[in-house]
Assembly symmetry: C2
Homo-oligomer: 307 residues x 2
């Protein structure tokens, strides 16, 4: 009945126009777990870290209800490392350095105790790794959500298309949707991508919000206009965590409930960008989240009498 | 009790990645009047055209309830002409040619029969022209809405700031908001601009929707995701026409009603871009508009139970 999350747990070093972080904790799996843990537990995590990964970070996740049996610790190897620099618009960034380390030969193993999971969140990783997790599940989860990025479109497209054909919900950003579909119009892109397999497609547009497509339907969730975006790293993963967390909590995978889930994801992402790394996600309370959700309601609420 | 619209009436020649128009009817005042005429009448128009402007275009506006006493026809001069080419993203364009013609020495005159107008829409024009209209009004209108563009920020900033200080609602796009405020964050930009005078600020973001700011409040209206944007020319003016048209119809200038007005403006803009120039605006019916508004409701409607 629980949520299985697959994703990297990593070190990041981030530069933005507003500052520079030390080597801090990052990784899609980390952000997803922190975010989703506000909605549901247990969360059954699959990942891999090196001997240099701080155990207190794993403990912090444990106390949030994140089970770590599926997190491999390779004592003699080093954790995945990424560093990047954001441009002034905070929507584009350059990768300064990538050290794959433990991710290079990552073979995910789904523990027996994870086999009951009904919700599977595949964080951004090599498509072959994502597929391996799906294939290890003895019973297909009720809902499989997949995040990916343009990098895999460029170096592993056949694998990527194969995994895309196996999932229910695909998450990409607007640039990636265009690259994957060869369509400029996001509406046309969405319909082409849904023909590749997923019944639902979420197109993330950063500060411009997110679109959810399903058959002929479309839903738009705004991003909260913020005074300051301090660090966008992990915002997409945090969004995914809030989305799948709400679905796993409510066990309702209707289009209507996915709309609510996207607002939850957007609210969580709006916290993520307020500080470097996962910092803000480790601080927020239920009251903070409720207040933020109320801001979203106010942001888009309007009255129209259609006679 | 009626709406006064000031704005150019012009010829445009437009190139997009999808096609090329002949010399067609355009101008901010034209788009605003066509759009607003779906909501309110009479509309009292102030503009200037040359002897080459087709009288049947003026007649068509007349039959929509647009009064033309304030439209000067300079028989021996030529109408303002603009031609431009849109880039693939349809958000950016290059001006190919501008012929000011009758606009060069335009001195607007507010007829006596226009003095009862409670709503004043200042379409994009030289700030000195906009100011002249405000100054000719014996009684200040209940609501003054002003559109402008970056061009005036660059060549007539002192005049522009003067007019901005006299209006209630300012409309700019995101780039212009940043240029005017010297702030990158749109939230910070909005607060700086509201300190210049306007109690309300609308920041248009094209395909990414529009934001309405007032004091500490913010409202977001999405743009409808479209399969195809055929020609974005006039979309901002059409938006403004729907906005002021709804306010003039309802005579309610509360923040709540401005939210509704922005959705009306967004719906009208979504029609505008479907064909070249004003073509689509001259075709649509009340039923088309209602159906489009229903799409907007569906697009952003979600349920959240905050306990």
């Amino acid at each position: 009945m629980s949520l299985l999350v697959v994703g990297s747990m990593a070190f990041d070093a981030i530069e933005t126009p507003f500052g520079k972080s030390d080597k801090i904790i990052g990784g899609a799996g980390t952000y997803i777990a922190w975010s989703a843990s506000n909605f549901t537990k247990p969360i059954k995590q699959i990942s891999v870290v090196g001997g240099d990964f701080p155990l207190e970070q794993l403990d912090a996740l444990s106390t949030r209800g994140v089970e770590l049996e599926g997190v491999q610790i390779k004592k003699d190897e080093k954790t995945f490392f990424w560093s990047g620099r954001y441009h002034m618009d905070m929507n584009t960034r350059d990768t300064l350095e990538t050290q794959l380390n433990v991710l290079e030969n990552f073979q995910p193993v789904v523990p027996e105790s994870y086999q009951d999971c009904e919700f599977l969140m595949l964080g951004n990783l090599a498509p072959a790794v994502q597929r391996s997790v799906i294939q290890q599940m003895k019973k297909r989860p009720k809902l499989i959500v997949m995040d990916t990025m343009n990098f895999w479109m460029e170096i592993a497209l056949p694998d990527l298309l194969d995994v895309i054909s196996m999932v229910d919900v695909l998450l990409v950003n607007d640039t990636e949707a265009r690259e994957l579909s060869h369509e400029f119009s996001l509406v046309k892109a969405a319909h082409k991508i849904m023909e590749m397999g997923p019944k639902y497609l979420i197109i993330k547009k950063g500060e411009h919000g997110a679109l959810l497509f399903h058959e002929k339907h479309v839903f738009f969730a705004p991003a909260l206009p913020l005074e300051e975006v301090f660090d966008p790293t992990g915002a997409g993963d945090t969004f995914a965590g809030g989305f799948i967390g709400h679905l796993a909590k409510t066990k309702d995978i209707s289009f209507e409930n996915m709309k609510t889930a996207i607002i939850m994801g957007s609210a969580m992402a709006s916290f993520c960008v307020e500080k470097f790394g996962t910092q803000r996600l480790t601080e927020i309370t239920k009251a903070d989240i409720d207040a933020r959700l109320e801001e979203f309601v106010q942001l888009v609420n309007f009255d129209i009498d259609l006679v």
